[in-house]
C-alpha cells in the first residue's frame, strides 16, 4: 500500500527529531533545520506520491475529560448499578433509550438512536487497555499514540498521514477543527496537517502584502523550532487559499448550533467544528483525517445534569453533521468515531459525580458501519483491584479496523502489532489483522 522510501526519509526524520523537542536537547541545537536544503525536503515529500488514493474520510471526536460509559450506553437490567450509584443510576436507567434488552443509550442521544435504528451505529463495549492509568494526561497520550507502553511519541493519525498519504501538494490531508493547537493524535514531525480554530478568523487581516512578507520571513528559519515555524506559516497560507474556495462552494444542509450556555469547558464549539469539517469534506479539499474535541467530561461533581447536557450536545452536533453529509451525497465515505481517555468509576462519590475509571464504550457512526453491539459490556460485579470496569476490547482493535478496513492503510505498520478483529465495517476496503 505505501511505498518504501527508505533511508532518506529516515534521515530527515531523525534529523528533525534531533533538533526538536523530544530528542537530544542541547546537542540538537547544533543541527538546525536551516541546514536541510529545500531541495532535500521537497525530494523526500515528493517520494511519497503513492499513498492511499481512495476518498474515505475519518472524523475522530474526542470526549475530553473521561466520558462516563455507564451513562452513555446504560445497563438496563443490572441491579448492581443502583447499589453503586444511588444518585446517578435511577434517572439514567429510567429514561434510557433501549437498543437491546440489556442496553440503552443516554436519553439525550436521540439522533444517534435514530441512526442506530437505521443500522448506522456500532457500539463497541468495554474498550480499554491493560493496566490502565487514571491520569488524564497519561491516558490521553496512550490513546493518542496508540501505545500503552508510552514509548511512542507520534500520534497514530499523524503516523498514518506521514506513512500512508501523499502529502505533496495536499497539506490539508489532516485537519484539526475548532482548536488552536495540534491534537496529539495528529502529531508527527513528518505529517502535514492544518489547524483551524475559527474559519471566519482564518485569513491574513493585513492582506496579501503581509502574507507575502511573512512567507518570505519564514523560510529556512534557524533553531530548534525552525521547521515547525516554517511549516506552520506555509500551511497557514495554503489553508487560507483552500478555505477561500471551500467557503464559497459550501451550502450547509443542516442546522448546526453551539450551546452557548454550556460552559463546562472552553472546548465547547463542537457544532461549529463539525460544520467546518463538513465544509472541507463536501467541497473536495482532499481532507482525509479530521479531529474535533468536546470538553467537559471530567464529571467529578453534579454529574447528572452536566453529563446529560454533554450527551445532548454531542447528539445534536453529530446528527447535524450526518444530515449535512448525507444531503451532500458523501455520507458513504465518512466514518465518525468517538474516543475518550477513560470511563468513570462505577461507584459514585460524595459530590454526586464519579472519579476516574477505566473501560468504556466507543461509538462508531456512519454509513460505512455495520450497526450492532461489539465487545462485551463489562461486569459490575467483577471489578478490578481499583474498583473499575475491566476491558474486553483493546482500543487498538478499533484503530486497526479504521486503518485497515476504512482508510486502507497498513494497520500493522502504524500500530506495530495486530489485534483482535471486530468486523464493525460493512465492506472493508482491504483485509487486515
Amino acid at each position: 500500500m505505501t511505498q518504501e522510501i527508505g533511508i532518506n526519509q529516515l534521515k530527515r526524520r531523525d534529523f528533525l527529531r534531533a533538533g526538536l523537542v523530544f530528542g537530544a536537547g542541547a546537542a540538537g541545537l547544533a543541527a538546525g533545520y536551516a541546514a536541510v536544503p529545500d531541495a532535500f525536503a521537497r525530494a523526500v515529500y515528493a517520494a511519497k506520491n503513492q499513498g492511499i488514493t481512495n476518498d474515505h474520510v475519518l472524523v475522530m471526536i474526542q470526549l475530553a475529560g473521561g466520558n462516563d460509559g455507564l451513562r452513555t450506553v446504560i445497563p438496563l437490567q443490572d441491579p448492581k448499578l443502583h447499589d453503586l450509584r444511588p444518585k446517578l443510576a435511577d434517572m439514567s436507567v429510567g429514561q434510557a433509550l433501549p437498543i437491546t434488552n440489556e442496553l440503552g443509550l443516554n436519553q439525550n442521544l436521540k439522533g444517534i438512536k435514530s441512526l442506530w435504528d437505521q443500522g448506522r451505529v456500532a457500539v463497541v463495549e468495554g474498550v480499554g487497555y491493560p493496566t490502565p492509568t487514571f491520569s488524564h494526561f497519561e491516558s490521553i497520550r496512550i490513546w493518542e499514540t496508540g501505545d500503552p507502553t508510552r514509548r511512542q511519541v507520534e500520534g497514530w493519525l499523524g503516523r498514518t498521514l506521514a506513512q500512508s498519504y501523499d502529502s505533496f501538494g495536499h497539506p490539508l490531508t489532516g485537519c484539526a477543527c475548532g482548536t488552536t493547537d495540534v491534537p496529539g493524535a495528529l502529531r508527527d514531525l513528518q505529517a502535514t496537517l492544518t489547524v483551524i480554530n475559527n474559519q471566519k478568523q482564518f485569513g491574513f487581516t493585513g492582506g496579501s502584502e503581509v502574507e507575502a512578507a511573512v512567507g518570505a520571513l519564514y523560510k529556512g528559519t534557524p533553531g530548534i523550532y525552525g521547521a515547525l515555524f516554517d511549516t506552520a506559516i506555509a500551511t497557514a497560507r495554503e489553508t487560507v487559499n483552500t478555505l477561500r474556495s471551500s467557503e464559497a462552494a459550501y451550502q450547509p444542509q443542516a442546522q448546526y448550533s453551539d450551546n452557548a450556555k454550556l460552559v463546562y469547558s472552553s472546548k465547547n464549539q463542537l457544532a461549529a467544528a463539525l460544520q467546518l469539517a463538513a465544509e472541507l469534506i463536501t467541497t473536495g479539499t482532499g481532507v482525509k483525517l479530521l479531529h474535533v474535541t468536546l470538553g467537559g467530561f471530567d464529571t467529578h461533581y453534579t454529574e447528572l445534569n452536566r453529563h446529560d447536557d454533554l450527551m445532548g450536545y454531542l447528539d445534536q452536533a453529530v446528527s447535524a453533521f450526518y444530515q449535512d453529509l448525507n444531503a451532500h451525497g458523501v455520507a458513504d465515505k465518512v466514518l465518525v468515531a468517538t474516543w475518550s481517555e477513560f470511563g468513570r468509576r462505577p461507584k459514585e462519590n460524595a459530590s454526586g459525580g464519579t472519579d476516574h475509571g477505566a473501560a468504556a464504550p466507543v461509538l462508531l457512526i456512519g454509513n460505512p458501519v455495520k450497526g450492532g453491539i461489539y465487545g462485551q459490556a463489562p461486569s459490575l460485579t467483577d471489578l478490578d483491584g481499583t474498583g473499575n470496569l475491566k476491558f474486553s476490547v483493546d482500543f487498538r482493535s478499533i484503530y486497526q479496523e479504521i486503518l485497515g478496513g476504512h482508510l486502507g492503510a497498513d494497520p500493522k505498520e502504524i500500530l506495530g502489532d495486530t489485534f483482535d478483529k471486530l468486523g464493525v465495517l460493512k465492506s472493508p476496503v482491504a483485509t487486515f489483522g
Binding site: 541545537l29 531541495a39 532535500f40 491574513f204 497557514a236 462519590n349
Partner: protein, 474 residues
C-alpha cells in the same frame, strides 16, 4: 543528488560551529546604518552582557521597552537579578467598582482579564506578574468551573501573586485551601466518608510529584487525608436589581475580603491511621503536604517545570537535580530557586538561546511594551483565544502546554494578525531603527535581515520585527 544534499547540510553545520562565515556589509535601509546581516543559524550572543540582560528581561518579565532595557543594562545582569527577585511586588489596583458591595456577584471575566493584563503592562514589578502567570498555569483553575458569582477566581490571582516568591510548603497549603481551587478540583465537596479523588490526584500528578511516583492507593489515601474543607462563608447578602422594569431583584452573597476555605472537622476522615506514601499515620492536610515535600520526586518535578518555562526545553537531568538539591536545602524557598535559575550557567548557555517559545500572553504583552503601547490591553484580550491562551480559562487541569505546542498554522496566523492590528492601532509608532537590536539582539536569520534591509518605513520594520520567528522566541 540526495546524498549530496545531506553532505551539504553537514557542511553548513560544521562551518557554523567554527563561526567562519563572511558577513557582507552593504548599505542598509535605515539611513546611517549599515545593512543588517543574517546567518544560517542564530549564534548565541549570550557571551556578551547586553544580550544576557535582554534575555533575562524577556524571560523573567514580559520583555522591555528601551527605557527599562537601558536601566537594566546600566545595572548589569547580577544586579538586575537581585532587583527582580528581591523587590516586593506592587499590588494591582482593586478590581471593579469598590463602592459596590455586590461587585463580585456577577464577575465580568473580560474585565478581569483586562485588569490583569493592564497590570502586566504597567506594573513596576513585572517579575511578580510573570511568576503569577507561571503559577496560574501550574496551580491552575478556570472561571467556568469556579463560576462568576463569587470573587474566588479573582482572589486566586491575588493569592498566587502574594505567594509566588514565598516557599512551596506555605504555598501548597494556601493552594489546597484556596476557594477557587476547592471548587475547581472538588475538595469542597469531598468528605472523609466518601472522598472525591480529584484534588488528591492532581496535587500529586500535576502540582508536585509527577505521574509514576505514587500509587492508586496513595491517591485514595491522600483523598481521605485532605477531606474536610468547605468554601468560606459570605459575610452577607446584597440585592441586585436584575430587571428594573419588572422589579426583579435577587440576593447575592457578599464577601468582605479574601479568605481561605474553612476546615470543618465533622467532614474530615473519621477512621484510624492509614498508609500513605509508605507511612502509616493519622493523615491530615498539613501532614499530607509535608509527606509530599519529603518525597525525592517533588523538588525535581517543580524545578523541571520552572526550567521549561524559564531556561530551556527538556533541561538535562543533572541540571534539574542540582537546582532541586539546592531548592530542597533552602526549605523550598522560591526566591532561592528563581535566583539559582537565573544565575545558573545554563541560563546563559548557547543551548538556552531562543530555546523557548513565548506564550501568547508573553508575546502580546512584550509587543505592546516594545511599542510603548500600554493602553492596548483590549486588543490582547481579543486576540488571545485564537492563539490558544485565555487567562482564567486554561484548556484543562494541566494548564497550558508550552513551547512547541504554541506553534500551529492557526496560532502563527493569529500572531501575525495581532501584529497587523496592533500596528494599525498604535499612533504614532516609535522609531524602529533600533528594534532589531533591542528586541532581537541583532541575531537574525538571512530572511529576517534581508526583509529588514528592504523595509522602507517604521511600520514595515515593526511588522517584520514583531512577526519574525526571532520575536516569537524568548
Amino acid at each position: 543528488m540526495l546524498g549530496a544534499a545531506v553532505a551539504g547540510g553537514a557542511g553548513v553545520a560544521a562551518i557554523r560551529l567554527w563561526g567562519g562565515e563572511a558577513l557582507q556589509r552593504l548599505e542598509g535601509a535605515i539611513p546611517g546604518h549599515p545593512a543588517l546581516a543574517g546567518r544560517g543559524d542564530w549564534n548565541s550572543p549570550l557571551g556578551a552582557e547586553p544580550a544576557r540582560v535582554a534575555q533575562l528581561l524577556r524571560r523573567a518579565t514580559f520583555g522591555a521597552g528601551p527605557a527599562e532595557l537601558e536601566r537594566a543594562l546600566s545595572d548589569g545582569f547580577g544586579k538586575t537579578v537581585d532587583r527582580l527577585v528581591e523587590t516586593r511586588y506592587a499590588p494591582p489596583p482593586e478590581f471593579g467598582n469598590t463602592g459596590d458591595p455586590a461587585r463580585f456577584a456577577r464577575l465580568n471575566v473580560a474585565q478581569l482579564q483586562q485588569w490583569w493584563l493592564d497590570h502586566m503592562l504597567q506594573s513596576p514589578t513585572p517579575f511578580a506578574e510573570r511568576m503569577t502567570l507561571f503559577w496560574h498555569g501550574h496551580f491552575t483553575s478556570d472561571f467556568r468551573k469556579v463560576g462568576l458569582q463569587t470573587p474566588f477566581i479573582y482572589w486566586q490571582n491575588l493569592t498566587w501573586r502574594d505567594m509566588a516568591l514565598t516557599d512551596l510548603r506555605s504555598m501548597l497549603k494556601r493552594v489546597t485551601a484556596d476557594p477557587a481551587m476547592l471548587r475547581y478540583l472538588d475538595l469542597a465537596t469531598s468528605t472523609g466518608a466518601s472522598p472525591n479523588e480529584n484534588y488528591s490526584r492532581e496535587l500529586m500528578e500535576l502540582f508536585t510529584m509527577g505521574a509514576g511516583n505514587y500509587s492508586e492507593d496513595d491517591v485514595r489515601a491522600a483523598a481521605r487525608g485532605l477531606a474536610g474543607w468547605a468554601e468560606p462563608r459570605p459575610t452577607g447578602t446584597a440585592d441586585i436589581v436584575l430587571d428594573p422594569k419588572n422589579n426583579v431583584v435577587r440576593k447575592y452573597p457578599v464577601y468582605d475580603q479574601p479568605a481561605p476555605g474553612m476546615f470543618v472537622a465533622q467532614r474530615a476522615y473519621k477512621g484510624g491511621p492509614f498508609k500513605y506514601l509508605g507511612k502509616t499515620a493519622q493523615w491530615n492536610t498539613d501532614l499530607v503536604i509535608d509527606q509530599i515535600l519529603a518525597q525525592p520526586s517533588t523538588a525535581p518535578f517543580i524545578v523541571g517545570r520552572v526550567l521549561e518555562h524559564f531556561v530551556m526545553q527538556a533541561p538535562p537531568k543533572d541540571y534539574v537535580n542540582r537546582l532541586a538539591a539546592s531548592f530542597k536545602k533552602s526549605k523550598y524557598d522560591l526566591k532561592t530557586l528563581m535566583r539559582d535559575v537565573f544565575n545558573s550557567p545554563e541560563f546563559t548557555s548557547p543551548a538556552a538561546y531562543r530555546s523557548l517559545v513565548k506564550s501568547p500572553t508573553e508575546f502580546m504583552v512584550h509587543a505592546l511594551r516594545a511599542l510603548g503601547a500600554g493602553s492596548q490591553s483590549r486588543m490582547v484580550m481579543a486576540s488571545a483565544s485564537n492563539m490558544g491562551q485565555v487567562l482564567f480559562d486554561p484548556p484543562d487541569v494541566g494548564g497550558w502546554p508550552n513551547n512547541e505546542a504554541w506553534i500551529s498554522s492557526n496560532t502563527v496566523l493569529a500572531r501575525v494578525n495581532f501584529v497587523t492590528s496592533l500596528l494599525n492601532a498604535v499612533k504614532p509608532l516609535p522609531s524602529a531603527a533600533e528594534a532589531h537590536r533591542q528586541q532581537l539582539d541583532d541575531v537574525l536569520s538571512p530572511q529576517t535581515a534581508s526583509a529588514l534591509n528592504q523595509a522602507r518605513d517604521d511600520r514595515s520594520r515593526w511588522l517584520l520585527v514583531l512577526a519574525s520567528p526571532e520575536f516569537q522566541l524568548k
